[in-house]
Symmetry: C2
Subunit: 480 residues, 2 copies
């Protein structure tokens, strides 16, 4: 029996299982739902055991001081101990559901309408996790083997929608168990149902606050205006100076570690049927696009780093006028980062920028909260991406384009801590309304995802030599 | 008997009368003190009648819809009906007195200590109004005449400390009675007790608010950052662009009507013993001065117009970070104006600036509340200023330098509505703590003021031809 046929034959069963799982309200951000997140993990454990995974386990996270939510780990070894090892990453927790009255059917009472399955988590991420269980069964049915051609590990966390607080610790604690040659991220989307595509990168982010101080109190502008530096003028000046005329960021060293976008990737991005007007309308932006010269809008929001002012305040902001030279001026900034930028290096550059340019009479401090999120990138010419793309192309009977995502998850931690390359296999759509009311998934696309997952193990096995060649090197680096 | 001797002989009497008047809490901003402002006007009327003014009257202001506070008007005609007419402007209302517990003696129980008279209004402006009553008596005592050598009119308003709300209307209503060849403003200060000086100009002011709108809601910077214009970036850019590298304002036409500061005035300003470090320390400003290239600090704050950002806000300003491209950005601005700038023309220029420079995708609106305050200027080479300066030089036995003030009162209305040149004769000091607790005045300086006022009528009479030569022209213009 071939993969596609097997999956078609089990489609109804798959939708039924997914509906069961979706009925569990595993909202990780809601402390009252801790029990439900636990039930969701147990449900997945049982389902994966039923699928045939010889090793399935619920892993607690966190510590006595900071309780975490459980992840699920499963493992199905290949017959050949030297075969490549793939670790699938996804999550079983879901977003909150407010505003409830905007849902056409209750978020935790999954409903099928017109080929879609509606319910919180249908697309993000339970549907996409679950197709791996169907995919591996299809792979075995097609090969007639008892084990997959590569060792398949699943690591499905329970805190992704609340910041993956304990995930990096979990990875470090179990680094030996999770050791792999490739990380398969199954939490991303495609361009459109009829334009299959593969994500190859996610931007990181780091934030900063800038505080400028001038006089020790607000000054009367009649007495001092025009004679002393005004912190608001200086702030406007320095924020305006963050970009040059070409929209490039002027922070020292900002682009030093940026991996240029390759010509083949640019060519594939250019093939995407991007409707810029519709995109702007979607943003409620009546005007025009803007950004770094020499890049298309998609390249700008996916593959290029940014400096964005998120907030700014100082002086008199209430009703009426107040003729002052204000004592202080403030701004909040964030930077979207691309491979191989490091959050700390960008903040250091920002601090140098303000050190170099703040005029006498004004004191500037630049602070950053947290460590930021590193960008991640799956280079299109790596064996992992080539295998993943071939698997998707076989499932969709079509050429697969490349996309990236502007936002960020724990993917960089996976790549960094496990020292393995990433490949993104996901079939979500923008239209899925993830994080919003009426989240849904197109069941036919989930089945395509299962099919791609089934092919993926064969495609990875075919590149075994390339995938495992750097094992010693990775182990050596991990030990440092 | 000479002027100086007469004034010395009546010094105690003068201080006694002033103390009586200072005991009346004529706080115009406090509705509960309306009766006291009225009592203050009656006290002054009686005092001026006792001085010998043949015409003295309390003038109501405002209307049924908007009640005003009373002004006092007095007139002492010269024998010669063709003699110049001088109108003295001052005010009998005072500032509020909070915080009360910082006063060493109660604000309305005048107390003499170490040659100073302490009390609200001692310097601003009752002391300076009252020295004119003493001055005109000294003038008559010295000349032996029954009438002054010029017609002296006094117009002492009761709303200066609460915005002179009804003053322009009062001037228009009684324009014929107030007709004059020179307006003597007696509500300004000198550089220092040992550096007599004369104010020759006051900056005007006009305010504006700028509102920028981009997307119709805050956008996720992961999805849109780097691809659409950010209102905060645009605001920073346009505010930064308000000044060029030389600190000059770039608004179209901003300097078109600016009267350049003359070389003689610059030379006199340069003679002032200005301690820039002390001035900065007084401002709580640890750093350096800043402003328009080519001008000294005093020239910048007195004789050059400014564009000042008083407040700025937009996007996320609360705790923590929020990775958004915000929907809006706002700023409050004010402009200090110098002769002959017009508030409306500056606002029109600002609107054009934003129209010309706001990029596609961002909508900018520029609004201004009220009509602003026009600047005023008493050119040093006019007969009025020459006469006033000579009077002060005789009183102080010293050369008198020129200053200006950065702030604004109704002086431009006086000059504009009465079509008469201004001259400023005032002996207040920065150390007088006007508008603050422990307001005081140096009694010896008030007596010098009385002496200068006595000489002023003779000096103006000596320039009669020059002062009255433009009468027909003024009347003609006033009729338009």
């Amino acid at each position: 029996m071939d993969v596609r046929q097997y999956i078609q034959d089990h489609a109804a069963e798959f939708a039924g299982a997914l509906s069961q799982w979706l009925a569990i309200p595993s909202i990780s951000a809601d402390p009252a739902r801790r029990g439900d997140v636990g039930r969701s993990a147990e449900w997945l454990k049982d389902h994966l055991a039923g699928t045939g995974f010889p090793v399935v386990e619920v892993l607690g996270t966190g510590s006595a001081e900071s309780a975490g939510l459980p992840a699920v780990y499963a493992e199905w070894p290949a017959s050949d101990p030297a075969a490549p090892v793939a670790l699938v990453y996804g999550h079983h927790d879901v977003q909150p559901v407010e505003p409830l009255d905007e849902w056409d059917s209750p978020p935790f009472e999954p409903a099928q309408r017109d080929g879609f399955l509606f319910g919180r988590g249908a697309s993000d991420d339970k549907g996409q996790v679950l197709f791996h269980a169907l995919g591996i069964r299809a792979n075995l049915a097609a090969s007639g083997a008892a084990r997959p051609p590569v060792t398949v590990k699943l690591l499905i966390e329970g805190e992704e929608e609340s910041g993956s607080t304990h995930f990096a610790d979990l990875l470090r604690t179990h680094a030996d168990r999770f050791a792999c040659d490739v990380v398969v991220v199954t939490d991303t989307g495609m361009w459109a149902a009829d334009v299959p595509s593969m994500c190859v990168g996610m931007r990181g982010v780091v934030d900063a606050e800038v505080d400028l101080r001038g006089p020790d109190r607000d000054l009367h502008s009649g007495s001092f205006g025009g004679g002393v530096p005004n912190p608001l003028h200086v702030l406007a000046d320095l924020l305006a100076g963050l970009h040059d005329e070409d929209g490039r960021v002027t922070i020292p060293g900002f682009y030093a570690d940026v991996l240029p976008i390759s010509v083949p990737e640019r060519d594939l991005i250019a093939l995407l049927p991007f409707d810029e007007k519709a995109w702007l309308a979607d943003a409620g932006h009546s005007g025009a696009t803007a950004g770094e010269a020499g890049y298309s809008t998609l390249e700008r929001i996916w593959a290029r780093p940014t400096a964005e002012v998120n907030g700014m305040w100082g002086g008199h902001t209430g009703p009426g006028g107040k003729t002052i030279v204000p004592a202080e001026a403030h701004a909040k900034l964030s930077f979207r980062l691309v491979a191989d930028q490091q959050p700390a290096a960008v903040i250091a550059g920002l601090q140098q920028y303000f050190r170099d340019r703040t005029p006498p009479g004004i004191a500037a401090t630049v602070t950053s909260h947290g460590q930021g999120v590193r960008p991640c990138f799956a280079a299109p010419d790596t064996p992992a991406v080539r295998a993943g793309r071939r698997a998707l192309q076989r499932a969709f009977d079509a050429s697969v384009l490349f996309t990236r995502e502007g936002g960020s998850g724990p993917e960089a931690d996976l790549a960094e801590i496990l020292r393995a390359p990433l490949v993104f296999v996901g079939v979500g759509l923008d239209a899925d309304q993830i994080h919003a009311p009426n989240e849904r998934v197109e069941l036919a696309l989930l089945l395509k995802g299962a099919e791609a997952a089934a092919y993926l193990w064969d495609e990875l096995a075919a590149l075994a030599g390339e995938l495992t060649s750097r094992r010693g090197q990775r182990a050596g680096r991990a030990r440092r």
